[in-house]
Subunit: 280 residues, 2 copies
């Protein structure tokens, strides 16, 4: 029994069973043929689960990825049981099969991962972040835009630019110079008390926190989606970034501009911390 508990507590499960590897035939490895979600787990619960599940099922439909929704839901519940708080990762790949790019016949594979930490400690979130503009630009791919798929080389290259700098997040622009998102977060400007977030119809990840903010937060009716230039970002009253694991994080410095965490950023941050049961 002790052994079983230990075994099931392993870092990864593949198709519902503990595993530390995936077959070399997996199409996630060969083609990035799959999607993922990273979820904040708080005392065995996932506050933003319904939003994650919505994006996951929609992306699987768009990409034609086979997965058994009730089975995956049960696996996830069992996977996070007794683990407490941390970050869970769901990957759905098209699995093994098909022939070359042709995906026909592949049955899908689910991968669950567990990480005890969150990507940014809450005290650092509270303090705010310095960010910089990355040189790596986001390409335009309307077919893939919005999804959290496994084709993430642009983000890897952008994040690599920040290595050995003071920055743990960078702002990415698209090939036309529009401001789109952070390497691992969505971006929000506050202008005269209203929130603006970039249009993601050509590139970028439509984050779960962004969706929650637009649909469910107390500021939902003030949010608009617009095209945003570099100079508009730098002259905003407040800037904040956010994702479903670290929540909302005020930006306190970008290029030669400094901000104090502003009232709207603080209010939304506090609202997410309440969802996460983080003490104010």
């Amino acid at each position: 029994m002790t052994h079983k508990v230990f075994s099931y507590a392993s870092q990864f499960w593949v198709d519902g069973s503990p595993a530390d590897s995936v077959p070399l035939s997996d199409r996630g490895l060969h083609y990035g043929d799959g999607i993922f979600e990273t979820l904040r787990v708080v005392d065995g619960e996932i506050p933003l689960l319904s939003h994650h599940w919505h994006r996951l099922t929609l992306s699987c439909q768009k990409l034609g990825l086979p997965f058994d929704e009730p089975v995956l839901r049960q696996q996830l519940i069992k996977f996070i049981e007794h683990r407490g708080s941390g970050t869970a990762k769901i990957m759905i790949t098209r699995g093994s099969g098909g022939r070359g790019y042709n995906p026909a016949g592949a049955k899908g594979r689910s991968i669950l991962g567990w990480f005890p930490e969150v990507s940014l400690p809450d005290d650092r979130s509270r303090h705010g972040l310095s960010v910089t503009f990355c040189d790596t630009v986001l390409g335009h791919s309307p077919v893939l835009a919005g999804m959290k798929h496994l084709n993430r080389l642009e983000q890897v290259l952008a994040r690599a630019e920040l290595h050995n700098t003071q920055y743990c997040e960078g702002v990415m622009r698209d090939i036309d110079g529009w401001v789109i998102e952070g390497t691992m977060s969505n971006l929000f400007l506050v202008e005269s008390g209203r929130i603006v977030t970039p249009d993601l119809s050509l590139c970028g990840v439509d984050g779960v926190l962004r969706q929650w903010l637009i649909k469910n937060s107390s500021v939902a009716d003030t949010v608009t989606i617009e095209k945003i230039t570099r100079s508009r970002l730098l002259t905003a009253d407040e800037v904040f970034v956010g994702n479903s694991v670290m929540g909302v994080v005020p930006v306190i410095h970008c290029e030669d501009v400094q901000w104090l965490p502003g009232p709207v950023s603080r209010r939304v941050q506090q609202e997410v911390f309440q969802l996460f049961h983080v003490d104010g």
Copy 2:
């Protein structure tokens, strides 16, 4: 000894040793963080090896992928030894490590795969192919254009369109409607005896056969790189597709246009078959 031979003849090697799986921490799986090459092996030799090696090393440099070039070369030589003819696949992923998108510290991982067949039998290549236009478009990503990286979801979606049709290759256009390439091949038009191939500066894979054709073939000095429209393709004297595994394949049908394999296509096809030691 028998056991050892059997073992080393397994379909995949990882970092020089037979394997059937890869650690779940591999960044190729999580982010498509890597590149690949598929090579035609003819009686234990790789006719286009120098071109493959050139692209592989250049892509690894551009992406900052760590790999030990002499070690990989030795592994490849041993891997294809005694296998005869078929297709070898080299994948180089950034391996395990880093933190999230941040690749710092990842050591790289080499994966070699063996497939006894080639993607299209030579008699079918000789006969020619019917192709159709895919609806899935190629996004513009100048950072990644040209490389054979592991972010291949657009190709998977385009190839999925051909399932249960008569087509085993489709023509992909970019977001502006320019003709770019096949899902698994490069594209060539013949106009008044000269060869034209699409510009790949914003998207597409700069194939090894394409490079050979431009630099080393008997028609090299007739090849130009241009932007190509759908109607220009359909009114070309000849159209052919090609990659380093199947060689050159005449296109004999697209939409309501039919072609007989033309003299330039035949000449280049024959030249590649000679490289591949395929009898005329």
